[in-house]
Symmetry: C2
Subunit: 457 residues, 2 copies
């Protein structure tokens, strides 16, 4: 798919040939191919493209190093291209520019573009306002189907989507949504207010979380959803392709948080190593400091370990089993919360599922653990001492307790985080493991004290 | 949002009032409300809805217990409703029916419906064929824009999407794709073959993975993509809403796999506990058996632990740090692979990023660890013995080694799994932690032997 050497070769040759080849390519393919070029070379290619295609390439959210490409363009080239970009992508680009870069480029833009930018940049990027576009089609409520279709023919080419048309009332408030499908299917002289269903209008506020917007668009199979202010005035629309991009970004963030770090917000191969380290070191250090409690806990039982070194052998096995069962539970609940299958008030319903689940899984692992110890002893592969049966019992019961505790902790942590106002996706596998490790040690050595007192201890 | 008591109350009362209230609701809201009812009550409500609305409710992929609802309907009710469903959702429903349930319902369906079902059920659910619909609009290449618009007016109401129209050549092969937008914007007597761009046609084969289909639809901002056979004959289309559903399902599976279990394939609150336990117990037992090697490794160093119990204190801290750094690395790489930012051949590029990253993170944690030990000793909070400085050095160097090893293992495991033909998302946090725990112990005790020989050991 890499058309890059070809693009560069053509660029250095016959401009007519270049234009011909390029007109057969789609903007996303050109954007992908430009990823292999230096920003200045990419700027050169974009500058040589037909204007509309160049705008489409800049509009592609997957274009790598968009900021660097813009920065290496002359203002006379960049200005008109940025004026032509779709408002949402333009706002996205500006969010990534530094203050001085913004100051360089802003004067080269049309007054209208500057205003649109200022308006969109008011909203945080993870909200409906942050991903909406201000390019949409409106008609007054007095229009007919025929008049609306004619309007689409006249101005439709420049709008991001013409598949949804917004009907405004006399006070310019959003009254109704009409789809192009409904328009085409209806009689020409039919009033737009009669078209389509009289269902309640679906709209969102500008500060709604983009994940929630995605959920609505997906639930109702919409092509776009209007964003309105408190007075029901239309601010913009969020289209289905923006929602797909938002879903993919959110998933990336969630997976990375679940792995136990801050979200990178940049492609793995593109982010600089120092910046990546900053995103990873914070959580890693926090978890490390939390995990230091295991050294404290182990220190507390140092006497027992000195008496019965055999106990130390099973420490990693037992605490990791708690972490693993906790990781399962937390990933289930984080995902169920993201899909709105489970809400905050459902915590006790989850707890009464995880308690028996944890007990069953713990009993299962406890059984395997006991069999392992007894088998090794009988086969003479290892000598756990004269009280090996009691050691096996200790390990089994500790596993039962630790896995049950792990399942409960892992399932409840996302609820606790959400209740405290944090992102439940921060309940990462390492976070749960750290919580469970310390408690797991206490459970293990307490069980050992109860069972082995008078024999090994 | 719960309209259920209302629905049931209305159902028991005036049918006219019921019809009025219900006509103001959207199908997805009714489907959601039905989730609180028993399947037989839900079947009753659906049976009382206007036919088209009832079909839309059954078509909603988020309708819970769809199979049970269908099973508690009389055949005379279920048959026509299933005939009316969209082909892709109908196929999805049939995949969930048992053989005997299928045998009960199939005879009640129209011959055409049976054929459509048989055709779609040929394809695995995670492929383009498995999520495509066979409802689409085609026109011969000889049609004009006007004729095509008239065709849409005539039959468009029943098709899933009328926003994309497929132009077939004389041999009924797919020749071109025309959007409703382009049709509306063009001259009435313009030939469809002249409309739109002459870009290369985008299509996919029926066995392409649905994630790849989603990636294409997202990359090119499409509303639908055609699925064609080897002779370029149109088999069906995948629409953008199917792709969103597929993306959400894939994400759920990936998050659950990353948590260290099989994907549930059912909502967390809906799956029976025994079935959930089966999905969790397999991986948990496999990880447990893998983790048993830690007991073996610890046994190998039992003599050292007996000599220097202080070494045992830091075992959980050190191995968990390796697991945490591995979890970070593996979540980064799994996600980068899913987004196609990183391919199999890029493994060495990842390795040369993770090696310095791991060294830096390990040095950072090693420093914190050393400070912790020296500080506790100086403040008299714990006595690590006369050789506490050497203990601190041992812990630091072990952390450096374990975190570096963890980062490398975590980042390489997804590559190894993919190379062996497994899903890289199976490289779960617990899986990586297990791999790193065993090696982490060996690294720790080896470092201890090198540094403490002659003093503590």
């Amino acid at each position: 798919m890499s058309a890059t050497p070809e693009l560069l070769y053509l660029l250095s040759g016959d401009p007519v040939e270049f234009a011909q080849v390029v007109s057969g390519l789609r903007a996303p393919d050109i954007a992908e191919a430009l990823g292999d070029l230096s920003p200045s070379a990419a700027a050169l290619v974009i500058g040589a493209l037909p204007f509309d295609l160049a705008v489409q390439v800049l509009d592609d959210p997957d274009l790598e190093q968009r900021v660097a490409i813009i920065n290496s363009m002359a203002l006379e080239v960049a200005g008109p291209l940025i004026n032509g970009m779709s408002p949402d992508q333009r706002a996205e680009l500006f969010r990534q520019l530094s203050d001085s870069e913004q100051a360089r480029i802003l004067p080269a833009l049309e007054r209208r573009t500057q205003q649109a930018l200022e308006f969109l940049l008011r909203y945080p990027p993870e909200t409906a306002g942050g991903i909406m576009t201000t390019e949409f089609l409106t008609v007054p409520w007095t229009a007919t189907a025929q008049e609306t279709l004619e309007l689409i023919r006249r101005v439709g080419g420049g709008k991001e989507t013409v598949y949804v048309i917004y009907v405004l009332d006399a006070e310019a408030k959003l009254r109704q949504v009409v789809s192009l499908r409904e328009l085409v299917l209806s009689e020409p002289d039919c009033s737009v207010t009669e078209i389509g269903s009289r269902r309640k209008l679906l709209s969102v506020g500008p500060y709604m979380d983009r994940e929630e917007v995605a959920r609505l668009i997906s639930k109702y199979d919409l092509l776009a959803i209007p964003v309105v202010d408190k007075e029901q005035r239309l601010l913009g629309i969020v289209t289905v392709d923006d929602v797909i991009d938002a879903l993919i970004t959110e998933t990336t963030e969630d997976v990375q948080k679940f792995g136990g770090m801050e979200a990178l917000d940049e492609p793995y191969m593109a982010i600089s190593i120092p910046r990546m380290l900053r995103k990873r070191a914070g959580w890693l250090a926090a978890l490390f400091i939390g995990e230091m409690l295991t050294a404290t806990a182990m220190g507390y039982f140092e006497g027992e370990i000195a008496h019965a070194v055999v106990l130390a052998l099973f420490v990693p096995l037992i605490i990791s089993s708690g972490g693993n069962s906790g990781s399962q539970a937390t990933s289930l609940i984080i995902r169920a919360m993201a899909l709105r299958e489970v809400r905050l008030r459902d915590w006790w319903r989850v707890a009464i599922r995880e308690l028996p689940s944890g007990l069953a899984l713990g009993a299962f692992l406890g059984l395997i653990g006991a069999v392992r110890i007894l088998l090794w002893q009988q086969l003479g592969w290892y000598d756990y001492g004269p009280h090996y049966r009691l050691v096996a019992l200790t390990v089994s019961l500790a596993l039962l307790g630790v896995v049950t505790f792990g399942s409960l902790t892992g399932s409840m942590l996302p609820f606790v985080l959400r209740r405290l106002g944090f992102d439940p996706a921060s309940a990462s596998a390492p976070f749960v493991a750290t919580l469970v490790d310390v408690t797991g040690l206490v459970i293990y050595f307490t069980v050992a004290l109860l069972i082995l007192r008078g024999t090994l201890l």
